[in-house]
């Protein structure tokens, strides 16, 4: 065999390897999307057929032996209250942290607190639940407020991070123009920088809400031992959709599974719509904020 032929054979083999590897990468992408499709399809198919108005309006009946219609109205009310309160807690603090890091802090503190935010974001949700349990629940009992506090801890680094990114997009020329006109820094921040960034902050908040609305772990130890009555009072322990699904999924009764699928379908629909809208808004906002 001549040198020339050898090299051509090598090329053929190299092409084959290349082809194989490219096919494997395609396959990986197909598998990833197939997994998403299968999970969403399972939830949608099983949830859709169980969907009815009773789910939203009727309370659950424990140990029910009859076929009386029951729902999860307590869980829907509780999720609205707890996620709402958590957002009210996390949003102002998160924005303030971002304002401090982006507008006031010297670089060394900025990296330091940035690292703290990353560490906070890395604390497992179940550990946050235990922390709030030790700090607030042990001895005095569970409540919706304490659950909301646990969710707010998960939201805080997320809101702060996205706000920092949005503030960084606001052109410095705007700040300089405002300061140059003699407007104090606090007015510049509140009336010029933050309004410009408002769209982006809203997007980040929607994403954060979508993320914590599905969280179960922080609520298990802070707001899970509940009755079946629908309550809007955050001073009491409130049922939530994720905790309800968690409990129903462990039940042996197929009727409970049906309700879990239906509630899961509504939760998933909400989360997917929220995150897709936010993603769409984010690309539009980034351009607008930077003034391009």
């Amino acid at each position: 065999m001549t040198e020339h032929v050898l090299r051509v054979e090598g090329l053929a083999r190299r092409r084959r390897v290349n082809h194989l590897m490219e096919s494997l990468a395609w396959l990986a992408a197909v598998i990833a999307i197939a997994i998403l499709a299968i999970v969403v399809w399972s939830v949608a198919r099983k949830g859709w057929s169980e969907l009815n108005l009773d789910l939203l309006t009727k309370s659950p009946i424990p140990f029910s032996l009859t076929n009386a219609p029951q729902g999860l109205s307590n869980a829907f009310a509780g999720t609205l209250v707890i996620v709402g309160v958590a957002t009210l807690m996390a949003l102002p603090v998160g924005i303030l942290v971002a304002v401090y890091l982006n507008e006031f802090a010297p670089p060394s503190i900025r990296t330091g607190v940035g690292l703290v935010l990353d560490v906070l974001a890395g604390v497992p949700a179940i550990v946050v639940g235990i922390f709030v349990f030790v700090l607030l629940v042990a001895g005095s009992g569970q409540s919706g407020l304490k659950g909301a506090f646990a969710l707010a801890i998960l939201m805080l680094p997320f809101v702060a991070r996205t706000t920092i990114e949005v503030l960084a997009l606001v052109p410095n020329a705007l700040r300089e123009a405002s300061l140059g006109l003699g407007i104090p820094q606090w007015r510049t921040t509140l009336s010029i920088v933050l309004p410009r960034a408002a769209g982006g902050i809203l997007t980040g908040t929607v994403l954060a809400v979508a993320r914590v609305a599905g969280e179960t772990a922080p609520l298990l130890f802070t707001s899970s031992l509940v009755g079946n009555q629908t309550s809007w009072n955050p001073a009491h322990a409130l049922q939530t959709i994720p905790v309800a699904i968690f409990e129903l999924s462990e039940s042996p009764d197929p009727k409970d599974h049906a309700r879990a699928w239906a509630a899961g379908f509504i939760l998933l629909l909400f989360i997917l719509c929220a995150s897709l809208t936010a993603r769409w808004l984010a690309t539009r906002n980034a351009r607008k904020i930077a003034g391009r």
Partner: protein, 330 residues
Amino acid sequence: MSAADISAEPVRRPFTGRRVRFGDLLLQALAGGAALGATVLVGLIVWKLIDGAHPALSKYGLGFVTRIAWNPVVGHELYGAGSFLFGTVITSFFALLVATPLAIGVALFLSELAPRVVQAPVTALVETLAAVPSVLVGLWGILVLGPALRTHIEPWLHSGLGWIPLFGTPSAAGASVFTAIIVLAIMILPIVSSISRELFLGVPSELKEGALALGTTRWEMVRGVVLPYSRGGIAAALILGLGRAMGEAIAVTQVIGGGVFIHWNLFGTGDTLGSKIAASYQGASTNLQSASLIYLGLILLVLSLAANIVAQWIVRRVSRQHGVTRGGHA
């Protein structure tokens, strides 16, 4: 009107140079206080967990970490984290093993192969997978995936590869460590793939084009340029994924089945640190038991903080080496 307003202003403010304004001080104090609060919060989490675990910490010391026991019967109480730690390591290691090639493949597809039209939608779809709440992945895991694995995949693997201890007799209950591994792999796949994709897109195109100009195939270019260039970042992404897998409690609790023992059979049941804690949410019978549960949480916190800090450290080192500032990812 406005012209009159301006002319009506009789006194000119004297220029005083740097003035300390009350508003500036207030906003800075508020914002700085919030940042300080976030920092204190991290310390408070560590302190409160140590505080809550104190009865178990002082009774068992560090021996707790490796002891295989969980006996809540009053009078014979004995607790240890050994089996749960083992379960955590096994499930997250194998989940990473399953997810890594898939995630790297997806990232390579998105950064090097995908036609422009499918790039954005596929990226969005893969990241949507990360938005599915863990309790729903768990619900799907226990009612759909678990039964499917038990009736089809597990017996098949057992009959073919049963001589490997990992593929032992499938458990009669629907739950298994194997289901937990697949569920965890699904949950960390989008994290690892989206970070890897950004890393691959950050590889300087002159390096890639240089390799291609030398006559390499696309795969040889990936192996010779893209992968070595992003090696450090991939390591960080994998460690972040590992941290996420170790910390996941809900979905694992739903599918893993429970039990206090160490075995290598992936088709048997088991428990992890997170799943043991989550499964005990309806209350502990004694103080020592709840302190022991908090001790489990403390171990979990230490593990995930260590993973997080190592990953951050690698990211910072790599970005300094490459001389690029790390862009955030939304």
